[in-house]
Amino acid sequence: MIHQAPILTIATLLLTAFWVPIIGMFKKESAYYIALAAIFIAFAAACGTLYSVLLHGPIHYHMGGWPPPWGIEFVIDYLNAGVLVLIALISFLTTISAKKSVEQEINRDKWPAFWSLYLLLIMSLMGMTETGDMFNMYVYLEVSSLTAYGLIAMGEDGALIASFNYVILGSVGASFYLLGVGYLYIVTGSLNMADLYRLMPGLYHSKVVFTAFAFFMVGIGIKMGLFPLHVWLPDAYTRAPSAISALIAPTMTKVSAYVLFRIILSVFHIQFSTMIIPAAKLLMWIAAVGIIYGSIMAIAQKDIKRMLAYSSISQIGYIVLGLALANRMGLIGGALHIFSHAFAKGCLFMVAMAIVYKTGIRNIDEFKDLNKKMPFTMAAFCVAALSMVGVPPTAGFFSKWYLVLGTISGRHWLMTAVILASSLLNAIYFFRIIEKTYFSSFLGGGGHGHHKTPTVVMTEAPAMMVIPILLMAVGILAVGLFNFQIIHHLLQFIVPGGLA
């Protein structure tokens, strides 16, 4: 059974997604529960996969028994086993807490379609994580984009435009990616990543390979919202249904970032990006500008979801920066940041979802006394915010720590300054909210600390929503405290041999 675990993740979700609309025709409420059960099975299968990888090393799963390079292959090594469980876990927690919010925001008639697309989206993300085949990757990439268009479009006013923007840019990105795959196929005759990795060094003089690489960068860059290809992202995150923001913000851009790792590290060789063309250097500068740009734009926002969206653009920059440093500490920092940012941003968007569900408030200026209404939700918010700022012992601190080590050991002092400055900028926009929420009882009222606070009734979101949020907050601390275990068992293997 366990050796079928990798395919079980995909197959369960795919087959259930097919049945959800059909059963949903008869009983709309059942759609959610079926979806939840499927995601749970997928989560269990992902855990099984990770367990097997930890025990027996990387898994090569051949679809239908066809050996590569002819057949499609799933390759699950240490890095993507970790990412797979991360995606599954966060999807599962988000799904639990999303029920009420979806019921509130989405028209009842659309529920079956919504949950069906939702399952397909998660399926495609898991597929992108597991596959070892470039063309198969493209298929999942397209599925994830198409389902995301549909889901985003179900959001509030303006969601259609946001979704349309994303359709256009997403299609451009996917086309670039597909062209890249085609170019590589022309020169190598292979679509299998491991095969390509073996063939590539002989072809590094080829202009076709250069072009393919550039196409990949642009295609994946759009998908992950890398500055300056991010323009679709803020609108999409803001306008999408809250539950969808909470699902795609921590997972979709992270999986795309993972794909970038894969392409740079195990389709091409890292030396290609550092020695043959100055790709790493270029990416580093792009990431640095993105980090600062995202942070500054986040400071300028009033809408919490929009602020978090810009913050994501900045955080994606951290991951890319780590990769572009192309040294041991940098790679580990970037990869660890996939984990820490997934938990933190997931937690934050879930908090936003709970706040919108319970109070309808989106504007940060109206957050006053929210801590008294929703104490547990806001406590989780604080933990996630501290992780974004990089305060120990949260996860965000440790990824920042490795990134700083990476910049110093590569003597990229300006990048060190960028990371450190960005953590201060993050502090500005997160502490602004904390200050508004917790410490503004007597602001403007002319009162002093000696008055009794006007009583605010506690109206916490339902337990089904709050418990997953709190679990995410615990996850942030766990990734922080056990970061060495994650690095030791999963992430250290991504560092190619011979890299300082």
């Binding site: 700022v389 305060v391 601190f397 953590s423 600390g449 000696h450 690095i487």
Partner: protein, 497 residues
């Protein structure tokens, strides 16, 4: 060096961390239950720290490795001479401050008392972590935790002034934290280790002088901001809007002491005398903090608000500690380390007095204090006693540490600093004695007020700390062996073992 493995340092950190959540989840209507959690945690913590003291005094080091954070780098506690002093001071004074807090907060019917006591307990956890941190990374983890957990206390009043002070506090401390992180990361890459060693661990790694100089500056600014070294001190007077027990905590127990403690750790346990002399930085540091010592005394002279005057006095006194460490002689190090507990006991008394006056009379300014000594003789008596100590008059404890600091300047053959210390003592007298004079010898407009002392939970703590300040002046080794610990710390630093 003898090492003992023990879980006690972790317990000392955890007890108030766990206690904090008990406090948070106790209904705010059940004040007595909530306050019992504080006391239980405080007494257990103090007991744990005290039980480690004899082991340390016998020259052993208590070590505990928790989690591996990076290859060759772990979250690690190491209790040594210097750490146990800070631990004893902070945990001991927490008990007194808690009693005082209760009197103060209830006396003023303050809001959000649950949050207040919660954050207070978190602060103490962080402080213990700082005291017992075995390497720079562990130190940094708790240092940042302290920054964050103090923020709700600074902003406690939730009005415009408090929010502004909170922002200022975070701006200064988080920026400093970032600089410190950079310095730590760079040190790790250059030296491959971050573990504190008496006499420093940076020797013998062939690090270029320029890099070392730069690192020292980054480290000292990183820690110096919390210690209020000029020109990075501006947050400290602003933070005076916080409730007085918080000011007492900030000044005497936790935050600024964590800053100077950090500076001493950096100077003596990271760089060490040999490296500091090799890179020609020790005198520069000493001159730099001398400037703070003198100028902040002048600021203190000029401020009429009592808490503000005390704040500038703190800034000046903290730089004594850094100066003593920077002079790198055995006597100056002894004086410097000894000044950590001595200043703590004295300064906390002064703040307690300022708070008692405010709760009882609502007066904040020195110009309003005429004749107050007749109304509140115990409070002002304690204030007077401790003022003598701040100036450095025997038999108060301030005398001993200042004596060793002065000896240290002679040992280091840097007579200029002797002049600085003596000038500062004169200035201390100039800004403390007028308060005492006004309180006892000036008649207010309406004649001498009748005896009307503050409530017992306020008066008892300040009497205890004032009496302690005298006891430590006469018996410097009383119970806690502060003097022996400080001297042993200085010996190990100089010997580099």
């Amino acid at each position: 060096m003898n090492t003992v493995v023990s879980i006690k340092p972790l317990l000392a950190v955890l007890v108030s961390l766990v206690g904090a959540f008990f406090i948070l989840f106790t209904s705010s209507k059940r004040q007595n239950l909530r306050e019992s959690w504080t006391f239980i945690a405080a007494f257990i913590k103090f007991g744990i720290v005290l039980s480690m003291m004899p082991v340390i005094l016998h020259g052993k080091v208590i070590k505990l490795t928790l989690l591996e954070i990076a290859p060759g780098l772990s979250l690690m506690f190491k209790v040594d001479f210097l750490g146990i002093i800070f631990g004893l001071v902070a945990s001991g004074l927490w008990i007194v401050t808690s009693l005082y807090s209760i009197g103060y907060m209830r006396g003023l019917k303050e809001h959000a008392q649950n949050r207040y006591f919660f954050a207070f307990a978190l602060c103490l956890s962080a402080t213990m972590g700082i005291a017992f941190a075995g390497n720079l990374l562990t130190f940094y983890v708790f240092y940042e935790m302290l920054t964050i957990s103090t923020y709700p206390l600074v902003t406690h009043n939730e009005d415009e002034e408090a929010v502004k002070a909170g922002r200022k506090y975070l701006t200064y401390t988080l920026s400093a934290g970032v600089l410190l992180l950079f310095a730590i990361a760079a040190t790790y890459l250059y030296a491959g280790t971050l573990e504190f060693m008496p006499g420093g661990f940076l020797n013998g790694h062939n690090i270029p002088i320029g890099v070392l100089q730069f690192l020292l500056v980054a480290f000292l600014i990183g820690c110096g901001v919390k210690a209020g070294v000029m020109p990075f001190h501006a947050w400290l007077p602003s933070a005076m809007v916080a409730p007085t027990p918080v000011s007492a905590l900030l000044h005497a127990v936790a935050v600024v002491k964590a800053g100077v403690f950090g500076c001493v750790r950096i100077i003596a346990y990271v760089f060490g005398p040999v490296v500091l002399k090799d890179i020609h930085m020790w005198l520069i540091v000493a001159y730099f903090v001398s400037f703070t010592i003198i100028v902040s005394s002048l600021f203190a002279l000029a401020s009429d608000n009592l808490k503000r005057r005390l704040a500038f006095s703190t800034i000046s006194q903290l730089s004594y500690i850094i100066l003593g460490a920077a002079l790198l002689s055995k006597a100056s190090l002894t004086g410097s380390i000894l000044h950590i507990p001595n200043h703590a006991y004295m300064k906390i008394t002064l703040f307690f007095c300022a708070g008692a006056i405010f709760v009882k009379t609502g007066k904040k300014n020195i110009s309003e204090l005429d004749g107050i000594g007749w109304q509140m003789p115990i409070t002002m008596g304690a204030f007077t006693l401790v003022s003598f100590g701040m100036v450095g008059i025997p038999p108060l404890c301030g005398f001993i540490s200042k004596w060793y600091l002065c000896l240290g300047t002679l040992q280091a053959r840097e007579f200029f600093f002797l002049f600085v210390l003596l000038t500062s003592a004169v200035l201390n007298a100039a800004y403390f004695f007028p308060i005492v004079y006004a309180a006892f010898f000036r008649q207010p407009a309406g004649g001498r007020p009748a005896f009307n002392e503050a409530s017992l939970p306020l008066v008892i703590p300040l009497s205890i700390t004032a009496v302690m300040a005298v006891i430590f002046g006469i018996f410097p080794n009383f119970t806690f062996h502060f003097f022996d610990l400080a001297r042993n710390a200085a010996t190990t630093i100089i010997a580099g073992m």
